[in-house]
Symmetry: C2
Subunit: 472 residues, 2 copies
């Protein structure tokens, strides 16, 4: 029984000897050193060999019999289970614990955005300390209640849903009861869930062209047909009769992403009327409507629609911070049941601590103040951006500038925006070409996000853009 | 111009007069009181009427023209846009801000579980204060970095993935590199994501019968065919040739949910061999393997498999707390690309603050200590439960009792477990019948969770069960 000589039992360890012995035996079997059908030493002989009590060996053998590693053959002895004949030495290799670096977050990928990456809020404006105070308060008050499963909260905590319903009513005229609000992990997650609900019957969707790439990714995952909807200075053109039947129209009315065009009021009404006539759903993604600097926002599609065909989607990723992963949907009543079925299948529960914190944050006016503060900064940054771009004579036409987080600079027709973006990237800038968002067609252009960068950074980065642009 | 008499401008408000005027005009148009094509008073006349500067009126009109509510007809005046002819008075009703209760979390549904609801951890054992200290530490160190978008972390923060890979290697023999770990919102979410990845080719799945209902819900959402796999005292029987082709087998080897049977080692090997032969994926849900009180756990399927057909799924909902919404998958390398594509479509980002906190919590040994503490309490509660049930002579056979959070009491063949469960429910207890988890067949039984309830509560509640059982 050479095999057992290597068995080293550590008498000083906190682990009982019989557990150590079990582990050794298990390893020997798994590694193939003790193969199926092989006899084990008697309990007496092994106890002598290892200088341990016979009871320890008996207990270890019993445990391994219960685990089916070993089998007792009457009047014969203990053997490695014959069922284990498939085991060969190369089958199982237990890996070793590797030493690892001690730092808590060592992600080299956790880097701040580079100018002018689109859609990036300035997270340094976020009142994290205040947020943490609210968090502490709800945890002290409701801690244990918030930790456990809560099967009635698949759509989110009631308090948060009520506060969001009020916020949407007051700010965007959205007509809904708190029962129609569903909490999601952001607007992309919302669209994903809606795809599960809406893509049942038809399989074609009508998307703005150019469009947010996340939507296209979702539609590709579902194998849905994508119809490219033309975007002009009035925003998305409504679908034509030949495009029907459509499962849903996806639209960003407040500020078309990425061009920045606002859907005009006549278009809004046309879209709503068409949807009612053709029984098509409209998904209204109002991702950054809070950031309008030069005029009050237009009424949301949802507020204009009396046929309950508009599904309103929003997110706190832009107004609070992205890794909060908190968005919402205001659902028409007709979809509530189907939506809940999907939500139950995807994940029945929520991050209740964060939901309760956000609820308190909204209710106490902190959200409102924070949006106001961001708006002031972002409006100033946009102004600095546009002034600086004009002063430098950039060969870009910034057509839509009433708000938002991005400014699209249109290039001369015929120019290659991918090439321009590539040159900017080589100069250390992150400014995607408009064509990278397009489905079929798009004017050449470059999409600049300006919100995450202070005025000085904006000016110096635009000078860099100007230098590159001279070589176009 | 009677219409404008009701316009009340609040000179004391912080809102500028022109903004107030805009809102009034918008409301009048939306409510249909000012209909399409109707002429507005001249700026001069309205300024006199409302006793405000003419400039204020001009600015308000200009804004509403930019929003397409109004239109200027040359040499005629300002009119409500003719495009708005679809607007009628009942079309848009702006709802009023409703006063709401001030409490932060008023959910009456946030109630602690009732005995003997299955699968409920005792969240009062969770060291929330310690958790919050770790959270504070990572937020102080990496706050802003953790708040923003991070497109390289769709699978989760690297530090957390590394710590989970180590935890799985040491505790469950799972062979994987941190790059194979994906963070999910719990194990149900993990199975949902995997359904998106695996259900492409075939559309049949092989489930344990009885089984966790969440899995069935997911399969129904995808319209997948469900094959009922028989569960006996050795756990799940592997699929037969006639069941093929199967997209994947879903199995809970450590402790079959809900019966509690452990998948025997010969069955494990058989299942792995079959999967390799038929090229079938195995989803191993190891949801509560940490809680084994009487013996060390069997090696995970993943650790036994050398063909990379096992996908290992786990969750922190049971060992930490459910509303943390944190689970993980150890993916075979062959699935990484497809999985990432799905994850990118569903939600590209994560709750980075919570991920970093959990990473520190694992790395500093707090997870290990917490699991040890829970195990001691839960082992004691299980003992109290079984002793008390035996003393009371409950007509239930608790067959599988080596660990976990639940004990299934099998009833005499032929008994109606739904009726028994209903009677217990009438007595204020929450003990689901085994048949509520079954696909096709199941012995009658009742599923008791014992972990969330202290010894006294267990005893008194079991006495209540005994009283009800006398009437069966």
């Amino acid at each position: 029984m050479k095999t057992f000589e290597a068995v080293f039992l550590d008498r000083g360890a906190t682990k009982p000897l019989q557990v150590q012995l079990q582990q050794h035996l298990r390893n020997l079997i798994q590694s193939g050193k003790l193969s199926a059908g092989k006899a084990l030493p008697s309990t007496r002989s092994l106890s002598v060999q290892l200088n341990i009590s016979r009871n320890t060996v008996v207990t270890a053998y019993e445990q391994l019999i219960s685990e089916a590693y070993l089998e007792a053959r009457p009047r014969s002895g203990i053997y490695v289970s014959s069922a284990l004949s498939q085991f060969s030495s190369e089958r199982v290799v237990r890996t070793q614990r590797k030493p690892r670096a001690p730092s808590v977050v060592e992600d080299s990928t956790l880097l701040p955005p580079v100018p002018f990456r689109p859609c990036q809020p300035d997270v340094s404006l976020f009142p994290l300390a205040l947020w943490n105070r609210y968090r502490g308060r709800v945890v002290r008050r409701d801690g244990l209640k918030l930790l456990q499963y809560n099967e009635h909260s698949a759509m989110g905590l009631r308090a948060l849903r009520e506060n969001i319903a009020t916020y949407l009513r007051d700010g965007r005229g959205v007509k809904c009861d708190w029962r129609q609000i569903a909490i999601t992990s952001g607007s992309q997650h919302a669209i994903f869930l809606l795809a599960h609900v809406l893509l049942k019957s038809g399989k074609k969707v009508y998307l703005e062209d150019p469009d947010y790439n996340g939507t296209k990714r979702i539609m590709n995952l579902f194998g849905a047909g994508i119809i490219s909807g033309q975007v002009d200075e009035q925003g998305l053109r409504p679908p034509l009769a030949k495009d029907q039947p459509i499962s849903f129209v996806y639209v960003t009315p407040s500020r078309q992403f990425p061009t920045g065009a606002t859907l005009s009021l006549p278009r809004r009404l046309e879209l709503i009327q068409e949807a009612a006539k053709t029984n098509t759903w409209i998904v209204e993604d109002d991702y950054d409507s809070d950031f309008r600097y030069r005029a009050a926002p237009l009424p949301s599609l949802q507020s204009l629609d009396t046929n309950d065909k508009v599904i309103y989607v929003g997110t706190f990723s832009k107004v609070l911070f992205p890794s909060l992963r908190m968005g919402y949907i205001a659902l028409p009543k007709a979809l509530l049941e189907d939506f809940l079925r999907v939500k139950y299948a995807v994940d029945q529960y929520g991050h209740f601590i964060e939901q309760a914190t956000l609820s308190a944050f909204i209710e106490n006016g902190a959200l409102h103040s924070h949006i106001g503060r961001c708006k002031r900064h972002y409006a100033q940054r946009q102004e600095v951006f546009l002034e600086s771009a004009a002063r430098l004579g950039l060969p870009l036409d910034f057509r839509y500038k009433d708000g938002g987080m991005n400014l699209t600079g249109f290039l001369q027709p015929g120019m290659d925006d991918q090439e321009c973006s590539k040159m900017l990237s080589d100069a250390g800038l992150d400014i995607p070409p408009l064509s990278s968002f397009s489905i079929k067609r798009s004017e050449p252009g470059l999409v600049f996000g300006f919100t995450a960068f202070g005025p000085q950074k904006i000016c110096s980065s635009l000078e860099c853009v100007a230098q590159v642009a001279r070589r176009w």
